[in-house]
């Protein structure tokens, strides 16, 4: 359908698509013939080499709660412990753009509450990092952009308000690619964050700061945002759990918009349970977001079965579809092996795993980039230097706008604004606009419908779908900086999920070689609309039964 259209504007799409198939760097890709049951030996060996302990991850949030309620520990001690680790690791990791001055004061208040036997919120005393594009009244919120340097919002985002109401202590604002545009956090207007597993590598992006902070245990959990994979890919790179909820599950009010029809606020934790508790705390309808869903929020974590009670086949009967298109050309072979090993593990747990095909899969990437950049060109118009943010000194109005934006935005943001403006441009008269719309916008919208349909079909035959979260493990800083198309191609695993508005959970499932201790690989589980509960339940069992893996980076181990 797209290929039949002769329009130079589409050219980019093809470049983009083909780039994915033929990456610039010579690598050896083979369509994997490994059977699902034969787990890759190399990844297994590596995993065993890495471990120091084989106990599955426990919920940090529940542990904190237990020790607070039993008066075993004080909130200030817990906060101190995290802050100390933050102070030690931050000069290397650089995951925070701002660290709150109120952490200890807020911890003291929690201790006072405990002394007075007052009721505690579910996140009482839990240190949480917040991505810098989520508005907080008492901390600067810049979206990683120089144009909003030192900007302090007038209101808390709904998700932040809910965290505060649950007793959470906000540690600070985490680094990110400017306005969420990037996959490495290198496009931050302020600093480059390092991957705690190998500080010469990127943490992924755009929520790289949040993922790195949780991975390095600088905080218990963190909020991120996911427009095309910005929670899931860094979760994979940093070996933490990342959840992208269904579009509309969490209010976007207070999230600086990148692409409004794709943006969701998501969560990071070091265990599935923590991720579930955090998601539950921030979910729900919000009158301030007309696109937020009125669906009731189930109690995600309370449905988890304790490991001791697990039968030998706890996931018996669960139909798992492994997306064929995500295991082919362009995906690193060790990644494929690790995902297949994860599929075997699911089979051992009683799932039936079969390969499914999503025919529209490869169309998703160009459609995503057209839609996301179109919407972003509009959403970023408000940063004009008139009411807030950095303002250029100018003699007349046009240069006020252009200089403020020219100085304030980084190159990646400028490129996407230009792409989006171009995609939406009408030329000079209505008829051409309509024609242009039919040619450029409609196909993207149409592809979106196709993607939604193919997911729907696949999810009719399967309870969940699985795939890698990214085609590779964390790569070196600077490696893709000058090759945006290669970086965009890395989003192929995740963007389709945003186009379809579906929930997806990424959790670490193994390692590949690289860095001082191996590099973690994330398994992506995709569910039907509002099926977060199922994903978290399956993810929890997977995580608790995964043998021989401990995802603590060398930095904190």
């Amino acid at each position: 359908m797209i290929s039949a259209i002769q329009n130079p504007r589409i050219q980019f799409l093809f470049q983009c698509r083909y780039q994915f198939n033929f990456p610039p760097k010579a690598r050896h890709f083979h369509r994997s013939t490994v059977l699902l049951n034969s787990a890759s030996s190399s990844s297994r060996v590596l995993t065993e080499k890495t471990l120091t302990s084989t106990s599955p991850p426990t919920s940090e949030i529940l542990t904190i709660r237990k020790s607070l309620l039993s008066r075993e520990r004080k909130a200030v001690e817990i906060a101190e412990e995290y802050l100390n680790r933050l102070r030690v690791t931050e000069p290397t990791i650089k995951s925070f753009l701002h660290v709150s001055e109120n952490v200890m004061k807020e911890a003291e208040e929690i201790d006072l509450k405990i002394e007075r036997n007052e009721e505690l919120g579910v996140l009482a005393g839990v240190l949480i990092g917040v991505k810098d594009n989520i508005c907080t009244v008492d901390m600067p919120s810049t979206g990683g952009s120089r144009i909003l340097q030192d900007y302090r919002p007038a209101y808390d985002a709904t998700a932040v308000k809910k965290l505060k109401e649950s007793g959470a202590i906000l540690v600070g604002k985490t680094n990110m690619d400017e306005f969420g545009m990037g996959s490495t956090t290198e496009a931050s207007g302020y600093q480059v964050t390092a991957n705690p597993w190998d500080v010469s590598r990127v943490p992924g992006g755009s929520s790289g700061g949040s993922a790195a902070a949780v991975s390095a245990r600088q905080c218990v959990a963190a909020l991120g945002s996911d427009t095309g994979g910005s929670v899931r890919q860094p979760a994979s790179f940093c070996g933490v759990v990342g959840m992208k909820p269904t579009y509309g599950r969490v209010s976007r009010f207070g999230l600086m918009a990148y692409a409004s029809s794709l943006d969701v606020i998501g969560c990071f934790g070091s265990s599935v349970a923590d991720t579930a508790i955090l998601l539950e705390a921030i979910s729900g309808h919000d009158i301030f977001d007309a696109t937020s869903s009125k669906r009731e929020v189930p109690s995600f974590a309370s449905q988890f079965i304790s490991t001791e009670l697990l039968e030998s086949k706890p996931l018996k009967g669960l139909r798992v579809g492994i997306i064929g298109e995500t295991l082919g050309d362009g995906v690193d072979k060790p990644v494929v092996s690790t995902i297949k090993a994860a599929a075997s593990h699911l089979e051992e747990l009683g799932c039936t795993v079969s390969e499914v095909s999503l025919p529209s899969f490869s169309l998703g990437l160009p459609a995503y980039y057209i839609l996301a950049s179109s919407e972003s060109s509009s959403n970023l118009s408000r940063y004009d230097g008139v009411r807030y943010g950095n303002q250029a000194a100018a003699e007349e109005l046009n240069s006020l706008h252009s200089d403020s934006r020219c100085n304030g935005f980084g190159p990646e943001v400028k490129m996407r604004i230009l792409m989006g403006t171009y995609a939406l441009s009408a030329g000079y008269y209505d008829a051409y606009y309509k024609r242009a719309q039919q040619i450029v916008i409609l196909p993207s919208v149409l592809v979106r419908t196709l993607v939604q349909k193919s997911f729907k079909d696949a999810l009719r035959e399967n309870d969940i779908l699985i795939s890698p979260a990214a085609p590779s493990a964390a790569y070196k800083m600077g490696e893709k900086k000058n090759d945006p198309l290669a970086m965009y191609a890395g989003d192929i695993m995740t963007v389709n999920v945003n186009l379809a508005g579906l929930p997806a959970l990424v959790l670490p499932c193994g390692f590949v070689e690289g860095g001082p201790a191996g590099l973690p690989i994330g398994l992506q589980m995709i569910g039907g609309q509002f099926d977060e509960g199922k994903l978290l339940r399956v993810g929890h069992i997977f995580e608790q039964t995964l043998q021989g893996c401990r995802f603590n980076p060398p930095l904190v181990a």
Binding site: R152, A257, A290, T291, S378, S381, D384, Y388
Partner: protein, 489 residues
């Protein structure tokens, strides 16, 4: 005209936005607006052509002009912006009161702060459906909002939430009668579309003209934009069309329709073509008319200007542009030239769901519609009033209500109409009062008319009592008895 823009926004301390937001950067910022180019064009066009028309006052020239005008036909279309008097703005809970201190009725949403999202005020749909029905339009049972994008300091988000390809109402018409002094006659003008959108803020230029400040109180106030078909041919037709829209807006109670406050704004497109030609001439947009008579005069001026250019073989000097009506000089002058059509890069607003109407909802609104001017006029005509009387009466809802209530209390229809439009209207005009502000009640007017009609008092005495009542009030019976005014039989 070096107008400058300052970041002089100040919020009220009681509002959501803490002052820290603005005080971090206190330095006032200066910049000039992009008006240097238009300045030149204005002088060129203004000097040569417009003065000629102004000078043409001698009778021969007037006659010549009339003859000239007969050879050409003007085509006029009007875009009307109606500000809705909903309690809150279109997408946030801020109120809007004309004349409030600058930036006192703003919030994160209407200021376009990062992360803020619009929430739709359903009252706006109700107003749109009411007006759509009153304009005999087809309603789109499913419509949507779109973003219209351009940069201007008074547009906080860098886009205006509007409706593009699916307006809530379209394909309607208005019926109206022209006043007799303008030749009378019945007219039907087509309505292309009615759509919902939000207003922008206002730039306030400093007295010295060296800088401007932005007031965002008006940003986000709901508007209905009504686009007419290019069905009007003269200034008076256009003015009467606009007056009819104002009456409808007031009858329906969706807005106050006040042109001075900018609650009703008309942008008029005027083109001229030789009589008989089917294709349209180049159209020129006129703005800045804040009364119907200004509209009438501005359009007639613009028609003459264009006809003169045609006649002088300089039709190529008529260019696509926006011209402002200058009330003092009684002429239109170039504000800005249009360099091609603006590309607003419309696309569907992803932050708002579709607007879906149900049959039941539309029917309940249809049932609740008040009697509209057109229907009222027909009813008055059937009561035996002349077209002229009807038009005068129905022009002002308050006068109309006074009349109807006097008739209800038993007043003779013709006499009531005569008194109201004669002595009472003259008094109101003199004292600059509204009919609701006088002491006379419809009940007493009915009493008075009955007393005269019944021969109890003379017409002359009746008039004395009338003026006394207008000023002081009281009952007719008491006055007649007290002053012993009964006519000697």
């Amino acid at each position: 005209m070096a107008s400058l823009c300052s970041r002089g926004l100040r919020t009220h301390s009681s509002l959501l936005c803490p002052s820290s937001l603005f005080t971090t950067r206190n330095g006032v910022f200066f910049c000039t607006m992009q008006n240097t180019q238009t300045e030149k064009t204005k002088t060129r066009i203004g000097n040569t052509k417009t003065t000629q028309i102004k000078a043409s006052t001698s009778t021969t020239q007037v006659r010549e002009n009339e003859k000239m005008l007969n050879d050409y036909e003007a085509v006029i279309g009007i875009e009307t912006h109606v500000q809705l008097s909903t309690l809150t703005k279109a997408f946030c809970s801020c109120p809007y009161n004309y004349g409030s201190q600058p930036n006192t009725t703003v919030c994160p949403i209407c200021m376009g702060l990062p992360g803020a999202l619009p929430i739709f005020n359903s009252k706006v749909i109700e107003c749109a459906v009411k007006l759509g029905l009153a304009l005999n339009c087809k309603l789109a049972m499913t419509s949507k909002f779109d973003r219209k994008q351009y940069f201007y300091p008074d547009l906080p988000k860098g886009y205006q939430i509007s409706q593009f390809d699916i307006p809530i109402a379209s394909d309607g018409y208005v019926d109206l009668d022209l006043p007799l002094e303008f030749g009378g006659g019945h007219r039907k003008f087509g309505i292309t579309r009615v759509h919902m959108e939000e207003d922008a803020g206002k730039l306030m230029h400093s007295g010295t003209g060296t800088y401007s400040q932005v007031d965002l109180n008006r940003a986000g106030v709901p508007l209905l934009e009504i686009v007419s078909e290019p069905d009007m041919r003269t200034g008076i037709e256009a003015a009467e069309y606009a007056a009819e829209i104002q009456r409808l807006v007031r009858y329906l109670g969706v807005g106050n329709g006040n042109m001075q406050e900018g609650s009703l704004r008309c942008d008029v497109n005027v083109s001229v073509r030789p009589t008989g030609q089917t294709e349209y001439g180049t159209k020129v947009e006129i703005k800045n008319m804040n009364s119907f008579s200004a509209m009438h005069k501005a359009i007639d001026f613009e028609i003459s200007r264009q006809v003169l250019l045609h006649n002088q073989g300089q039709a190529d000097q008529i260019v696509q542009e926006t011209r402002l009506w200058e009330e003092g000089a009684q002429k239109t002058a170039t504000m800005r030239k249009k360099e091609g059509l603006a590309d607003y890069r419309y696309f569907p607003e992803p932050d708002l769901p579709e607007v879906v109407l149900t049959e039941d909802y539309v029917e309940s609104i249809r049932a609740s519609l008040p009697e509209l001017p057109e229907m009222k006029n027909r009813r008055f005509e059937n009561m035996g009033l002349s077209v002229q009387d009807v038009l005068l009466l129905s022009n002002d809802t308050n006068v109309c209500n006074f009349f109807e209530s006097a008739v209800d209390k038993g007043a003779d229809v013709k006499m009531a109409a005569n008194w109201i439009m004669g002595d009472i209207a003259a008094y109101l005009k003199n004292e600059k009062l509204s009919i609701t502000e006088i002491k006379l009640t419809p009940q007493e007017l009915a009493e008075l008319i009955s007393s005269i009609k019944g021969g109890i008092i003379s017409g002359k005495i009746g008039k004395d009592i009338l003026f006394e009542h207008i000023a002081k009030g009281g009952t007719v019976k008491a006055v007649i008895e007290e002053k012993d005014l009964v006519q000697a039989s």
